[in-house]
């Protein structure tokens, strides 16, 4: 069971570059999420999706975009990378039967220089 898989695990970007963080899950979960984790700040929700074709903003969406064309995949796009986007990004998934419990990937560490 792969669960939630994120790629890449590490990436260094220059200011102004673009990239996509990939996330895929094999649990047939309807719900998927992107969080960012910064030291001492906990996890903040960037975007989430309740099903294919449906996405919604979380607490900190600025500078990011998402799409959900399939149940399995939920990529996160950074269009113009800024140093403030240096963080660890976590993808998670869930379903109504999980009563709120999230299943997390192992994270993607992004540094913007």
């Amino acid at each position: 069971n792969a669960g939630v898989t994120q790629t890449p695990k590490f990436r260094i970007l220059k200011i102004g570059q673009s990239m996509t963080l990939q996330c895929t899950q094999d649990m047939n979960h309807n719900y998927m999420y992107w969080y960012r984790q910064d030291p001492g700040m906990g996890l903040k929700l960037i975007y989430y999706s309740v099903g294919a074709g449906i996405t919604d903003k979380g607490e900190v969406p600025n500078g990011y975009n998402v799409s959900r064309s399939t149940t399995e995949d939920f990529p996160l796009r950074l269009e113009l990378a800024a140093p403030s986007q240096t963080s660890v990004y976590f993808c998670a998934s869930s379903s109504p039967s999980n009563t709120g419990e999230l299943f997390f990937g192992e994270g993607s560490r992004l540094t913007v220089l």
């Binding site: 719900y31 979380g58 869930s94 109504p96 009563t99 419990e101 999230l102 997390f104 990937g105 192992e106």
Partner: protein, 116 residues
Amino acid sequence: AQSVTQLDSQVPVFEEAPVELRCNYSSSVSVYLFWYVQYPNQGLQLLLKYLSGSTLVESINGFEAEFNKSQTSFHLRKPSVHISDTAEYFCAVSDFSGGGADGLTFGKGTHLIIQP
């Protein structure tokens, strides 16, 4: 909207000593409550959760948490810690009404440091 406050950013304890990690939440609706653990350079794993019923919930590795509605708290305890418990612990809340669709609200985390 809900919020979570973890009162201690770091808790150092000696091995085999008891520990309590504090968590308070605020919400205008009924909630589900969770504790997640994050070991170094890993993702978050569910430690335990409270959905309904008995206010005391336990994990398989000796942790327990008690839901206290009047004090809006969900403190995590372990009677005797081991060096392998060194990790970051996150308290999180989800409200009933959305069925969990809009994700969890997390506290800022507590770093549990076990000293030999």
